[in-house]
């Protein structure tokens, strides 16, 4: 039984990672063949780095995903705070459904509708080229927002409402109370929201494809346009690098998460040890 379950697990992992493994392997191929591995080489990596258009696209993607993550984290956190403070349950439900729509909506619908909006407004304003970095940024913030809100909101719900009140009680204005007490409390949620927004933005192809002009090409769009011509192994090299970067990010994130958990466990242990001394301290 144990062997069977192991086997099953191995099969699942093969299913999940075989495509990536093949891609990584082929990226080190010395020839252009995708069926025959003729020798290990870094040729395609060099080739990829020589391609200035690819590097430009990578730079664009980083700029876009970082800025959209920052904007949506700030806006989303504020929105979550507002939603959390709503007293009217019906209103809160309505607002939550509205914010969740971009998340549930198929990307293609969101993309087309955003493009239509940009074209409409752009024409109205008489702009020459209306699809640019800025439209892309707006589009990305739009689909990132619900994820940030959904990761911050539970943290706010967890917080004892007396905690911000205690800050007011001790002399903080509501604004100072937010920065000194509430923000540190919800920080883990904010960070998760940021990372989620960043990766979603980095990944996105469909919505970006509809809302970016010719002047600003993201990595996904660039790769797509390369594939349309011919698939060369330098794309595998690029994809391998991106995969490695994502893997690294994930490992770092999980490690910090675990150390936090270990910390909490350590605290509990210390607390238990301390309980014996309780009576003494009370006197």
């Amino acid at each position: 039984m144990k062997i069977l379950s192991r086997l099953y697990l191995i099969l699942v992992f093969i299913f999940l990672y075989a495509p990536i493994a093949v891609m990584v392997l082929i990226s080190f191929n010395s020839s252009e063949s995708t069926t025959q591995f003729s020798g290990f080489s870094l040729y395609w990596y060099r080739e990829m780095l020589r391609d200035s258009a690819t590097l430009e696209a990578l730079r664009n993607t980083l700029v876009l995903s970082i800025s959209s993550a920052v904007v949506s984290t700030v806006v989303g956190t504020l929105a979550a705070v507002g939603i959390d403070r709503m007293r009217n349950r019906f209103m809160r439900g309505a607002v939550m459904s509205v914010t969740n729509i971009p998340m549930m909506n198929p990307d293609i619908v969101t993309g087309i509708s955003l493009m239509l909006l940009f074209v409409f407004v752009g024409t109205l304003l008489g702009l020459e080229s209306y699809l640019s970095f800025w439209t892309l940024l707006i589009a990305h913030v739009t689909f990132n927002l619900p994820y940030v809100i959904l990761s911050v909101l539970p943290k706010l719900k967890q917080m004892d409402k007396n905690i911000p009140e205690a800050a007011l009680d001790l002399g903080c204005t509501p604004l100072r109370s937010f920065f000194k007490v509430e923000l540190p409390f919800i920080m883990p949620g904010v960070v998760t929201g940021f990372i989620m927004a960043f990766t979603l933005s980095f990944d996105d192809f469909v919505i970006s494809n509809f809302t970016s002009g010719s002047s600003f090409e993201t990595l996904t769009i660039h790769i797509y346009s390369m594939i349309k011509k011919s698939v060369k192994p330098d794309i595998y090299a690029l994809s391998t690098l991106i995969f490695a970067a994502v893997l690294l990010l994930l490992v770092v994130y999980n490690m910090s998460d675990r150390s936090e958990r270990d910390d909490a466990r350590g605290k509990k242990r210390r607390e238990l040890r301390f309980r014996g001394k309780e009576g003494g301290a009370a006197k």
């Binding site: 004892d160 007396n162 905690i163 009140e165 205690a166 800050a167 007011l168 009680d169 001790l170 002399g171 903080c172 204005t173 100072r176 000194k180 007490v181 540190p184 409390f185 920080m187 909490a264 605290k267 210390r270 607390e271 301390f274 309980r275 309780e278 009576g279 301290a281 009370a282 006197k283």
Partner: protein
Amino acid sequence: MNRKKLIELRGITKSFDGEVVLDNISLDIYEDEFITLLGPSGCGKTTTLRIIGGFETPDSGDVIFDGARINDTPPYKRHINTVFQRYALFPHLNVYENIAFGLRVARIRDEEEISRRVREMLEMVNLKGFERRHVTTLSGGQQQRVAIARALINKPRVLLLDEPLGALDLKLRKDMQNELKSMQKRTGITFIYVTHDQEEALSMSDTVVVMNNGSIMQIGTPTDIYNEPKNAYVADFIGESNIVDGVMIDDYSVKMSGHTFVCVDAGFGKNTPVDVVVRPEDVDVVAPESGMLRGKVTSVTFKGVHYEVIVDIGGFKWMIQTTDYVAPDAEIGVDIEPDAIHIMNKSEYSGMFGDYSSFSDELDALSENTEEEED
């Protein structure tokens, strides 16, 4: 005593979602006073506290602090600090920084002064050496102390305490009660304390305010409240009471359960129906023939210091606390001294309390559990 009024509540009314929580409350709070708001869950005591703290605004009525109306003053501008029910410590700060919070917010830059005052506070609450500890590693009692130190560091005129000992075990509660009382005496700060525990209220307070259903039932010293309850509600809520229907025959003479007793109350008029309160510890058990009243013992419970005896006297179940054992089902007589009899006017609460016919320990425990879930 010639003390200065510090806080006045004038006709405070407050409702949440159309439900009246406070109904025309008026209350004077003096300087250097330990005052307790006492009542069951949902009686409005916490809301009263929150109005004084500035976390709720009254629908009507005035809150006056030191002569000035402060209805619209936000909490951060009031010289009032609060110890919250579940402590509400800042989890991202250690003990030292939690306590120093009020000073840092007040933009005191002198680190030496901060350090001195934090140490002073830590010493007062017996937490020396805990500076660097993280608040989440502390036990309930220690967190409580940090919360008190944090609230007192800004030297407020008034400290509000919202059931601060609710989460502590009995032994720790008793210790903290004494400590809080002596802290109040030492600092001279007015303490406004909210609790549903009548024993806690009686043992700590200078003044007790008994509340029910958004109204104040009685304001007085603990002895006043215990010995001279104003109505059946207060008599029942504070300690155990037998509340019997009686008729004031004349001044100093009251008839109940078919016997006319001598009492010390007067001024009710002739043949007036009244409520008569007799505390269980004030009833003497005597031989059946020689008692003023006689009845049959229905249950006996050993309580450590005394026996709790339920006696059926003419259909009314009395509770008697006695150190002498009596056997269940025995016939006994009871004597009541004149000064053990307290006469109250009839009120809306008459007949609702003070009969032990439905009494059982189980029921008692049940009602205590529901009280834990505070408003």
